[in-house]
């Protein structure tokens, strides 16, 4: 009995540690007084200020646009790559997979600066300076490996005979791919897409190094504001982002509880994903 109370107490203490900062942040976002020492009454003025801020609107626009484009492109390239890799000879497959793990295992900061060097280096040939395009290319780059890692296990489970049966019955290879293989690996593709989307929305380090002046996403915006100290507008922005994440999580969990198979897959691969976001969905 004593140990049970102790267990509960410990757990709640850790939860307090995890949630207290967020809750305080949310409360402050409604605080009328700029000094955070005392409560100056309820206000929505920080939210009003937030919605009038053109810079924030731009940052949101960039974040969402890059997340959508990069996750769609990464899903297409990654899924095709997974199908190709699956059929490769062992040596080639091992080499490509190991290279694919590099951006997953490498510190983000190293990936970020290496891409930054590349883009500045290439500017002399392409004329494209650091900015929206380079940030988008970087996001596609770090997203593709996660799509491949989500699709490959599904391909391994795939019964080879299915595809051959389709060919025997007169399907053209392209038709068999569309009608047999793609539907079978669809859960993996969707997982990869969602993962890519969330990683892109959430990324700071790589974006920070690969963007140019004037183009920032939400993370970069918060960083540049927070460096100058505390700002109630960030509190309001953070609160909105927190609520959106909660809603998204509820939707994703409802979806995943329907798709048990998928959940199991996520768990198996969880140790691979140092970014950990993926772990989230599997519990």
């Amino acid at each position: 009995m004593v140990t049970r109370i102790f267990k509960k107490l410990y757990l709640y203490l850790v939860f307090l540690f995890l949630y207290a900062p967020i809750i305080v942040l949310v409360i402050y976002s409604f605080n009328d007084s700029k000094s955070r020492g005392h409560w100056g009454g309820f206000t929505l003025k920080w939210y009003a200020a937030l919605f009038q801020d053109r810079e924030i609107a731009q940052a949101v626009y960039h974040t969402v646009l890059i997340a959508i484009i990069s996750s769609v492109v990464a899903t297409v390239i990654g899924t095709a790559a997974a199908i190709g890799i699956q059929n490769m000879k062992k040596i080639k497959r091992t080499i490509i997979l190991n290279l694919s793990y590099l951006p997953v295992l490498n510190p983000d900061i190293v990936t970020g600066v290496s891409l930054m060097i590349l883009f500045i280096f290439m500017k002399t040939f392409t004329g494209v300076g650091l900015g929206f395009t380079t940030m988008l290319l970087s996001h596609i780059t770090f997203n593709i490996p996660y799509v491949i890692l989500s699709v490959l296990p599904k391909l391994k489970q795939l019964d080879r005979n299915l595809y051959e049966a389709a060919l025997d019955l007169g399907a053209k290879p392209g038709y068999a791919l569309r009608k047999v293989i793609i539907p079978e690996i669809m859960p993996g593709i969707v997982t990869g897409f969602l993962l890519a989307f969330t990683l892109s929305i959430d990324d700071f380090v790589i974006s920070f190094f690969t963007t140019g002046s004037g183009v920032s996403n939400l993370s970069i915006y918060i960083y540049s504001m927070a460096r100058r100290g505390i700002n109630p507008k960030i509190n309001a922005l953070s609160t909105i982002m927190f609520v959106l994440v909660l809603i998204l999580l509820i939707i994703v969990n409802l979806r995943l509880s329907k798709d048990k198979e998928n959940t199991k897959d996520l768990k198996v691969n969880s140790s691979l994903r140092r970014r950990g976001e993926l772990n989230g969905k599997s519990y």
């Binding site: 305080v24 955070r36 059929n87 190094f209 927070a226 950990g276």
Partner: protein, 275 residues
């Protein structure tokens, strides 16, 4: 089905955006620009032996180490409790543990700025209780706190997933043979959960040693951690050669420790044979 060509667009992408950038890092790390042009050098690497930079390195390792140990000490009991009989059914609790991880990393770190500053809620409460105020914002303690806060779930989840899969009959057998809880913990649960502990340590230590955001927002001064030093070289100083040398060394440290950790991580499965 011979469709290897499906992977070709990716292979091209891989070469341009993953392989070439890393080669550029190596190139810049080992060259310098002199009057006669670019030449091979080890000077950038040797420059790391300068006490100023050496101190930054040691400090990064030290703070990451403390954070990792703190995460392990706080996180292991959490995983143990969450995986224990009375909480196993309550999946929702484990989910609560994960939600903070979904919040933007910068928001999480920024939240501690509001909590630690002079007029914060914590200090109002401490003041009310007639206790001395907590003034740790812009110190190393705040950095460690930020790391522990951000990376604690990375420690708990791998350990939790190993503990949940643990064969209950082994523990029951030990109980039948008269072992008390502490013996079971020491002789069975802890040794069997080591793979989870190892991946937990990796998942906390790696981001902790490479971060520059936490130290910039919660720590003081400019040269706090390796990450800040790299940021400094590329964003402000523009010394790509030295910045690349730093990145190169950091990359080697990370990949080597990954390699060592993988040997312990039996859960690991994937296409990789090297990593």
């Amino acid at each position: 089905m011979k469709r290897t060509w499906y992977a070709y667009p990716y292979v091209v992408w891989l070469l341009i955006f993953i392989v070439v950038p890393l080669l550029l890092i190596v190139y810049y790390a080992f060259t310098e620009i002199t009057d006669e042009g670019v030449r091979f050098t080890l000077n950038n690497i040797i420059r790391l032996r300068d006490p100023i930079y050496l101190r930054v390195f040691l400090r990064s390792v030290w703070l990451a180490l403390i954070s990792t140990i703190a995460c392990l000490l706080i996180g292991y009991p959490v995983a143990l409790i969450l995986a224990s009989k009375e909480y196993r059914k309550k999946r929702i609790l484990a989910l609560f543990f994960v939600i903070p991880m979904w919040i933007n990393f910068l928001v999480r770190t920024y939240a501690w700025m509001t909590l630690l500053e002079k007029n914060s809620a914590i200090n109002v409460i401490l003041n009310f209780l007639k206790l001395p105020p907590l003034n740790i914002l812009y110190t190393d303690q705040a950095v460690v706190l930020g790391m522990v806060y951000n990376f604690l779930p990375f420690m708990v989840l791998p350990i939790y997933s190993v503990l949940v899969k643990l064969d209950k009959s082994i523990i029951e057998a030990a109980e039948d043979l008269g072992a008390n809880y502490f013996i079971i913990l020491r002789k069975i649960i802890i040794p069997l959960s080591l793979p989870g502990v190892m991946s937990g340590i990796t998942m906390v230590f790696m981001p902790a040693i490479t971060t520059f955001v936490i130290s910039r927002l919660l720590g003081g001064g400019h040269y706090t951690l390796i990450g800040n030093l790299i940021e400094q070289q590329f964003i402000f100083t523009g010394d790509w050669n030295f910045g690349s040398a730093l990145s190169f060394v950091l990359m080697i440290i990370i990949l080597l420790s990954m390699l060592i950790m993988r040997k312990y991580d039996k859960d690991y499965e994937g296409g990789g044979a090297i990593w």
